[in-house]
Amino acid sequence: MLRLSPNLVPMLVVALVVLVLYWPLMYLANIPAAQRALDTGAVLPCKTALECATQLRSPVLPSPQQLWQGFGNLMFPLNSQSAIPLNAAVTALETLVGLLLAAMLGFFFAIGMVASRAFERSLLPWIVASQTVPIIAIAPMLVVVLGQYGVQGWLPKAIIAAYIAFFPITIGVAKGLKSPDPLSLDLMKTYNASSWQTYLKLRFPASVPYLFTAFKVAMTAALIGAIVAEISTISFQGIGKMLAENSRASDVVAMWVIMLSSAALGILLVALVNWVEHLATPWRRVPQREGGGR
């Protein structure tokens, strides 16, 4: 974290400015709604629109106090079925299992593409095309179909997460497997290395950085996939279930809290990838100075 230190002060200043601006913005957005609520004669514990702006049941922008209370309500007790920690853990598990499945599939396809031009020619156009397609659209249907065949619980969510994360990983690994320069391949040839040895000693290690770059993209994609899958079915656990529930109940404050929590979850998961990458690629632990021509 030492690396961030020159950014720390500016980041804090920006955060402070956003916070300071949030208050007037919140009043500006909520006062008309509060006025309408007062006009309809709703029973409110407040007299003026200004006062009510921070206490609306469904505010346009929730006030910081409301968010704080919302966090208190949704975070505790930690092991409650309706609290965020447990549900976030379930979603995270689905995402991670999905990512693992996707990595296995991705390696399989990537090796196929690197080993056989025919395989690549037959499949790559579709894998690339699928990158430009909103794959997420298939998720709701996939959940229902999988459910019909008895795949239920957290597994179908993980499968959908895998399905969505699979494409960036395949492309990334294929790129990585192809990344060794021709001279390194020649070197292995002068050793009379078998193609298995070339994969083991050269292509796999060379693909590791690419794998992690792909993982970072795929992690977010897999998380989105898992949440959408949870929303699209009758789920009993998960962030997606909480989102769907509160969206139906129009609990705006809770939705904000869940949004912030899932943002934190996304950041956490990507940070996890960064951490594993740091452990797995000791040779890249470079105190490199930031590049860029400034």
Partner: protein, 321 residues
């Protein structure tokens, strides 16, 4: 005219195997067109045989195209693969009589697509033009402007850029319901979701393009006594163009995803995402597939449009040499 390599015996064998396989599968589909009960074991074995023959043939045919430079001819194996998958799916679903409410056959999807095309076109207009395109344009332009400011002021770079990187790891689905609640179920809420999703990658990419300029080029500009504005005009912006286009291409996909996912949380009775959500809920999977096909076609067309503009504007870049 056939390329000379097609005359090679192994290639001919490949084509022959492929044709026999296809013929077997198609014959079965034709025979089973009006049947209502599952096929016999013998028929299923025949299907497996047909599939295997076609697959073997495809492998051999694809070998022949492995080093074709012409992209259109080189696409043949991929086209054959898609055709094989569709025919196999059709035959398989018919052989096992999978209820069309669960997995519709490709032919059924195709006829549904034609039947409901008016509805889907209206959905696509709502999703693509009103939501995705407007959000995309707003988000991308704001992204470029922000990147210009961030690249100019070191304080903004340090204070804002780390957030942009962090924000790209946030799942947009969580943002969608909040924005829909805030801005209503009409298209502006979805356009806002799209704008936010395309904004951050645009800032990060454009910033890199504006700042990853070779120090020698900067020295050159300095030797011309170029002002800051001229430096941007003649060096930084052209240098950033490939980066901007990368973000624009990535943005097309993100925009479609954002619009569709946004509609999952509330729409005014129109839109591809809304259609998918509703029909998946009541097992209308032929319509779901049709909507997905429309969304995919739009996504591919949009991406290629941007890629085409990119080639026109940045033909000098290494990646096209």
């Amino acid at each position: 005219m056939l390329p000379p390599r097609l005359a090679r015996p192994s290639a001919l064998w490949g084509w022959a195997l492929l044709l026999v396989g296809f013929a077997l599968l198609l014959w079965f589909i034709a025979a089973w067109w009006h049947q209502l009960e599952p096929a016999s074991q013998g028929h299923k074995l025949l299907l497996v045989l047909g599939g295997l023959l076609a697959l073997l043939g495809l492998g051999r045919v694809a070998q022949q195209f492995a080093h074709t430079p012409n992209p259109l001819v080189g696409f043949t194996p991929a086209a054959l693969t898609l055709l094989l998958i569709l025919i196999l799916a059709e035959a398989w679903l018919r052989a096992y009589q999978v209820p069309p409410g669960l997995i519709p056959t490709p032919s059924r999807v195709l006829s549904t697509l034609l039947a409901v095309r008016d509805v889907l076109l209206r959905d696509a207009f709502q999703t693509v033009v009103l939501e995705a395109l407007i959000g995309y344009l707003i988000g991308c332009s704001l992204g470029v402007i922000t990147a210009l400011l961030v690249s100019r002021y070191v304080f903004l770079e340090r204070g804002l850029l780390p957030y942009a990187t962090i924000f790209s790891s946030i799942p947009i689905v969580a943002l969608a319901p909040v924005l829909v609640k805030m801005m209503g179920i009409d298209w502006p809420s979805k356009a806002a979701i799209v704008a936010i999703t395309v904004f951050f990658p645009m800032v990060v990419n454009t910033f890199r393009g504006l700042t990853e300029v070779s120090p020698l080029s900067l020295d050159l500009m300095r030797s011309y006594a170029a002002g800051e504005l001229q430096q941007y005009r003649w060096l930084r912006l052209p240098n950033a163009l490939p980066f901007i286009f990368n973000a624009l291409k990535l943005g097309t996909t993100l925009a479609m995803i954002g619009a569709i996912v946004g509609e999952f949380f509330g729409a005014n009775g129109q839109g591809l995402g809304f259609r998918i959500q509703i029909e998946a809920g009541r097992f209308g999977f032929d319509i779901v597939w049709s909507a997905i096909i429309v969304a995919s076609l739009v996504g591919i067309a949009w991406y290629n449009l941007v890629a085409w503009i990119e080639r026109r504007l940045t033909g000098w870049h290494v990646s096209y040499r």
